[in-house]
């Protein structure tokens, strides 16, 4: 794969790394006897600093940021790890988190995680973790007896009650957003039923089960005469889980289930392991569970001060983990289940003499476990219910050999453990809760951009090359951000879909205008012929220039301005309003809201995609009034439900004024293909506008999610009665309505609970929207029309709904 970093040399191929484990503290307050950091072959921790110095954090963050920029990584996952990261204390932790967010977040979406034993977690730390949007995984091996088998203090005391106290803290509504899940290390001497029940009692968003670390030199403990004790033990938990209707994602099982979205994990599957570890002294290391193999096994001899990520990524030990099937031994390559097993966890393959060129030491267990999983297929996947022999390749979860699966974030566990979660899990869980965090919004925006780019490439294939295409691709290689800025304009995709789906439509080519806009954003010197639409030159995201009597205009881009020649008339358009105005130029007006420049989109003709008339371009007073109301409404959303405010900040970029209609004065709309924009009528007050913004943005987010996953059986023809309309709705329409109303219920609930003179109207709205949503959610769950993912999503919605008290206020 050629990459924007330009590292196309086949001898040194580009290997983008998106996951980083930062060993911020190398000591631990527990002394677990199954810990790979302290109890295994590698003992390098003894000579390393206890804490990662601020200068090392900065150097690591700078390396990661430059790598993310060079490879245009949409998301970077950073896991704080140890030892025990909470030994940093609140001040030390804050320093690390602030440095990472400040250095990394401007250029990419930063997914921050931490794996902890939980012993030190308190309210102050929880507040800090929520403030910096850190997702926390906690290590717990099950019930007290199971946990006490290994997870003890050095003095031999139990850590069980402290860990349970930490989990209770994370369950509290104000901290729940930082609760990522539980990581449990398997010990077949424990009772699987007790372990399963104990894990579920903690209401984790997800669970991961980890096989204890072992190699061929030091095989795992097995009871005499039992061939596959680990498969048997896990099989029992799998049975309980299936019987219970898979109430919580269990990563290992999901990853082994064919057709299940989410892809592989570090422990199973062929997904490339794009992961690097930074030790407390700044050394780049390979996956740290390699410590079980031999002393110094994870080392690379490189460090963050002298070596960029690209160099560490080319280390043979890192590189071989990215080549999928080709990196496995002959026996695994010939194995019929290799695409699902992937040879097991890399360190489990180690044997003195043959190195890692072996199957997993758990091979018989892995084979048996896969057979167990296959014996209990998913009950409600549409592909299983309806035969679809022609299903296209690449369905989420479809992982034929040689094609790695979805790039799941692979946060590491507490040292000695590794917590693995897929992007799918996180995306669905985050959005189903009602809001979606900045990470989720970032993923939606990036995948929407990817779809638009694929459609644009299709347009190029359909229409052939052009000067505009040449310019756009050249700019994409040299100034990708400028191209992305124009391709994320909400109305590019609707245009592409219309043109591509209905060839022959008499319509102008938008490509030259897109290329010109990218050119001026990149401060490139370029010239193109751009079609005139009606009587105007329309430049998406910038504005519209009235150009009478010409079919095309020659546009030259120079830093900060455009030179436009149409017929014999030549005009210069400065893009900075402060540099003066040009006759006939109508710039796109923007409102500053919460650090975002929200566009009032009343210029681009492509905005007419809402199935109802859009308003003509507003005059200055009307635009200014709308801008003020939008800014105020935005503040109201932040006041009412800050998480919805953050979700608006993270993704809503344009508002389209709808034409007034006295018969329906309060209207709003979302177009599935115009991600990042909503449409509204002129509204009397900011509080009403706030509700509509939240409502429509829910449709926007869910629409983008539905582009990625089928939550409803695609062949569904069922209609369900709903409380908010007289006519029964298709299942996807019910889901959309319920998702929007869930958020609206939250807004009214917050208003009812606020200290207002008369809370009764808000209380009435809160109850109504909550009841509508509950009825719709129950109808969806009872419909049998949801896919497995859809059911999980809707169950989460119901969980969020239960968080709204019966009697608001």
């Amino acid at each position: 794969m050629a990459c924007r970093c330009g590292a196309a040399d086949p001898a040194a191929p580009c290997r983008p790394i998106s996951q980083y484990v930062l060993k911020v503290h190398s000591r631990c307050d527990l002394s677990c006897d199954h810990c790979y950091v302290y109890q295994e072959a590698d003992q390098t921790w003894r000579n390393r600093p206890a804490r990662m110095a601020a200068s090392t954090v900065r150097a690591a963050a700078t390396r990661i940021a430059e790598h993310a920029r060079a490879h245009a990584l949409p998301v970077v996952h950073v896991v704080l790890h140890g030892g025990e990261p909470l030994l940093l204390g609140p001040a030390g932790l804050r320093e690390v988190l602030a440095e990472l967010r400040a250095t990394l977040a401007p250029g990419t979406v930063l997914d921050l995680r931490m794996q902890t034993n939980g012993v030190l977690l308190d309210e102050e730390l929880c507040r800090l973790l929520v403030a910096y949007d850190v997702k926390v995984g906690v290590s717990l091996d099950g019930d007290r007896a199971a946990n006490d088998r290994h997870r003890l203090f050095a003095h031999g005391g139990s850590s069980h009650s402290q860990v349970r106290r930490a989990l209770a803290l994370l369950r509290r509504p104000e901290f729940r957003s930082s609760y990522a899940g539980i990581l449990c290390t398997v010990d077949v001497r424990n009772d699987p039923d007790e372990v399963y029940s104990a894990l579920l009692a903690e209401e984790p968003p997800r669970v991961d089960l980890l096989l204890p670390h072992a190699t061929w030199d030091r095989p795992p403990w097995r009871p005499p005469g039992v061939a596959t004790p680990y498969a048997d033990w896990l099989g029992r938990i799998h049975q309980r889980w299936v019987d219970d209707g898979r109430p919580v994602p269990i990563r290992l099982f999901d990853a082994l289930t064919p057709g299940r979205a989410g892809g592989g994990t570090e422990a199973v599957g062929l997904a490339p392991a794009d992961l690097l570890v930074v030790e407390t002294d700044g050394s780049w290391e390979q996956v740290d569970s390699l410590k079980v193999a031999f002393h110094g096994a994870p080392g690379t001899g490189l460090d963050v001060f002298a070596h960029p990520v690209d160099e560490a990524a080319r280390h043979p030990g890192v590189a071989i983990r990215q080549v999928g099937l080709a990196g496995l031994c002959a026996e695994c390559r010939a194995c019929p289940v290799v695409s699902r097993c992937g040879g097991g966890l890399y360190p489990h393959r180690w044997r003195t003499g043959t190195g890692f060129d072996n199957p997993s030491v758990y091979c018989p267990d892995l084979l048996a476990l896969i057979a167990t999983v296959d014996s209990r297929p998913l009950p409600d996947r549409p592909v299983a219910r309806r035969s679809s022999p022609g299903a296209p390749p690449g369905h989420a979860g479809d992982r034929p050999p040689g094609r790695p699966a979805a790039p799941a974030p692979r946060p590491a566990g507490s040292a000695g453990d590794r917590h693995v979660e897929s992007a799918t899990d996180r995306l669905l869980t985050g959005l189903a809760g009602g809001h979606g965090d900045p990470w989720a919004l970032g993923v939606l925006a990036q995948t929407q951009l990817s779809i638009t780019r694929a459609l644009l490439a299709t347009w190029r294939d359909t229409t052939g090359g052009s000067a505009a295409w040449e310019l756009l691709t050249e700019l994409d290689a040299t100034a990708g951000e400028a191209v992305d800025a124009v391709l994320t304009h909400p109305f590019v995709r609707p245009w592409l879909v219309r043109r591509l789906a209905r060839p022959g439509t008499p319509d102008d080519d938008l490509l030259p205008a897109l290329a010109v806009v990218a050119g001026v954003r990149a401060e490139a010197d370029a010239e193109l012929e751009v079609p005139v639409r009606g009587d105007a030159l329309v430049l998406p995201t910038l504005g519209r220039l009235t150009v009478a009597g010409a079919r095309t205009a020659t546009v030259r881009t120079v830093a900060g301005r455009l030179h436009v020649r149409a017929g014999s008339v030549e005009r210069v358009v400065p893009l900075d309003a402060a540099a003066g105005s040009t006759l006939g130029w109508q710039p796109v007006r923007r409102v500053p809201v919460a650090g975002v420049a929200l566009a009032i989109e009343d210029v681009d003709p492509e905005r007419d995609c809402y199935g109802q008339p859009v308003a003509p371009t507003l005059d200055e007073p009307a635009a200014a009034a709308l801008g003020r109301r939008l800014a105020r409404a935005w503040q109201v959303v932040h006041r009412d439900v800050p998480a919805h405010g953050a979700a608006l900040d993270a993704g809503l970029r344009a508002v389209v004024p709808l034409a007034p209609d006295p018969g329906a004065p309060l209207r709003s709309a979302t177009a599935r293909e115009a991600f990042g924009a909503v449409a509204l009528t002129e509204l009397p007050d900011a509080a009403t506008m706030a509700v509509l913004l939240v409502h429509e943005w829910q449709h926007g987010k869910l629409g983008a999610l539905l582009d990625l996953y089928d939550l409803v059986d695609p062949a569904s023809t069922v209609r369900i009665p709903v409380a908010w309309r007289p006519d029964p709705r298709p299942v996807e329409g019910v889901l959309q309505g319920a998702y929007a109303h869930l958020a609206v219920a939250e807004v009214w609930h917050a208003r009812a609970a606020a200290d207002r003179p008369d809370p009764r109207p808000a209380r009435g709205h809160a109850v109504r929207y909550r009841d509508w949503t509950r009825e719709a959610v129950d109808a969806l769950l009872g419909s049998g029309e949801l896919t497995d993912l859809g059911e999980r999503f809707v169950r989460r919605m119901r969980h969020a709904l239960e968080g709204l008290r019966a009697d608001p206020g």
Binding site: L427, D476, A477, A501, D707
Partner: protein
């Protein structure tokens, strides 16, 4: 949403992320499968609505 025609299976997160890392000019040659998936998922069936804007819109009123 009511007007949305039956859709084909979606491209995975991984597929979309990978193609995003590829220069625009090489997306078609390096990710033909992605293009095919995107075409099937997001274009198929759109042309069956002559005379309308083939964009599924969600109109809400309060």
């Amino acid at each position: 949403m009511d007007q949305t025609p039956p859709r084909h299976s979606p491209p995975s997160l991984e597929v979309l992320t990978r193609s995003l890392r590829t220069p625009l000019g090489q997306v078609a040659t390096e990710h033909p499968d992605t293009l095919a998936l995107v075409r099937r998922r997001f274009l198929a069936g759109r042309s069956a609505q002559p005379g309308t804007v083939p964009v599924a819109a969600f109109n809400s009123s309060i």
